[in-house]
Amino acid sequence: MPKEFKPKIISFLCKWCTYSGADLAGTNRMKYPASILPVRVMCSSRVNPVFMVKSFLHGADGVLVGGCHPGDCHYQSGNYFTRRRFAILKRIFDTLGMESKRLKLSWISAAEGAKFVRVTTEFTEEIKSLGENPAKKKVFL
């Protein structure tokens, strides 16, 4: 029997909102997919686009960046910069013909544990339908 494909999704989560949101999901005993591999960052704008590219090329099936809702950034405006950078990277992926669907940006606040569960479940399903990241098996790094 072929093994079921379990995607790996590297998730850069903002400490103040999305990471706390994930915590809230946990304390409420809600279940989110094990495909999510969280990396806590102090602000979503700490995520250099190269982090996402590196994760992608090293075989992450998906890359999720989670931050506070626009206007709610703990550092006033960090997530607005994140949004621009993400738009840039997505456009680059599209222009190069790479799978920009594997990149995701989501605003999830500390109070939205349920939303965290929903978004991660949906994203995992989406990645499952896309299949394995082809970069995983390439002989390059």
Partner: protein, 367 residues
């Protein structure tokens, strides 16, 4: 309305005379221009303060060994401005660098020209391009594309300088060997050249004469962008294209936009440590070394592509013959398009990653 200086000398001689005048009369502290290094026809950019040395200046020479915009941003500030003769793409590079606090526009009297293009390195180095020069100037007089110019020049749409204090009119001027027309755009340049011995009239650079050339170059650009075919090939295409990258980072070093002292790719931050390679080997079955060449190029795209002025230096220096410039221009235009940004257009326009609007890109992040 701009002022026009007309000088009854060849274009290059006319410009040298103007430079000499500026330097001798202490209007500028120095002159930055291409200059013959030796009698053998080799040339380099030089910052000159002795007017005698201007005898060897060849300001309009159609070769670009380094991007002048990048070089002038590293010059020391002087008491008065430095007159810098640079081509439009170099000027745009300089504007981009000024936005990144790498220089000040007030430190330079920016002299540029309507540019026919420049030759690739191999043509420059083999016979110093001497054989090509007569044909080049003939084509410029006609206002058409000279033969043998760089690919990035043949598809360049920004050959008329913007933001220059002074523009030397070359493209489409019928008598370049006996007439030199210089357009003064700024108050500063008018004041500096008040006592200069030339016929002065009012007028403006006639943009209509460039329409045909602009159309041809736009077509060429579309063709180049189509031929590179990156969007069809995806990840495999990237590996194909950058699989031959030797990781020398030459494209980055000559790039006028890449100025970060603490560059991500110069540090070991993204070098995979040995354990990473060891962990990946069982999955991949083999690992290409040097590693991370695709990461380097996509990473660099994400950091600076929106500011790419398309000077073509990266393609020139690539030892593996990768069309870096075409790729970066194509992607850069797409990315800059999101923010309606054109690199080098205006010094007061901030680079897209340092500013934001609250009500933009609302399609992102909302689930």
């Amino acid at each position: 309305m701009d002022q026009i200086l007309s000088i009854d000398k060849g274009a290059e001689e006319g410009v040298v005379r103007l430079l000499k005048f500026l330097l001798e009369n202490d209007k500028v502290s120095g002159v930055f221009t291409l200059r013959r290094t030796t009698g053998k026809g080799f040339f380099d950019y030089a910052l000159i303060t002795d007017p005698g040395l201007l005898e060897d200046a060849i300001p309009l020479h159609p070769f670009m060994n380094v991007n002048g915009g990048k070089i002038i941003s590293s010059l020391p500030p002087m008491k008065k401005p430095v007159a810098a003769v640079i081509r439009p793409c170099e000027l745009r590079s300089f504007i981009e660098l000024v936005k990144r606090s790498q220089g000040s526009i007030d430190d330079f009297l920016l002299i540029s020209y309507t540019c026919g293009g420049s030759f690739p390195f191999d043509k420059t180095l083999k016979d110093n391009g001497r054989k090509l020069l007569p044909g080049y100037w003939k084509a410029v007089e006609k206002g058409v594309d000279p033969d043998n110019i760089r690919q990035s020049c043949a598809s360049c749409e920004h050959f008329v300088p913007q933001n220059a204090d002074i523009t030397v009119s070359l493209l489409g001027e019928k008598d370049l060997s006996s007439k030199c027309l210089i357009y003064l755009h700024s108050e500063r340049s008018t004041a500096m050249t008040e006592e200069f011995d030339a016929e002065i009239s009012d007028g403006q650079l006639d943009m209509k004469r460039f329409e045909a050339l602009l159309e041809k170059r736009s077509e060429q650009k579309e063709k180049d962008f189509k031929e590179i075919k990156i969007e069809d090939s995806g990840l495999d295409g990237m590996i194909d294209l950058f699989g031959r990258c030797i990781g020398c980072h030459g494209c980055m070093r000559v790039c006028p936009i890449c100025q970060c002292v603490l560059c991500d790719f110069e540090s070991c931050a993204y070098d995979p440590d040995t354990s990473v390679i060891a962990n990946e080997l069982p999955v991949r079955g083999g690992v290409r070394v040097p590693t991370d060449t695709v990461l380097f190029h996509i990473g660099r795209l994400s950091h600076m592509s929106f500011s790419c002025v398309g000077c073509g230096q990266c393609t020139e220096v690539c030892p593996a013959d990768i069309p870096v410039s075409t790729l970066f221009r194509k992607t850069g235009e797409q990315v800059a398009g999101i923010f309606d940004y054109i690199p080098g257009r205006d010094v007061d326009e901030e680079i897209p990653v340092t500013i934001f609007k609250e009500d933009e890109l609302s399609e992102l992040g909302n689930d």
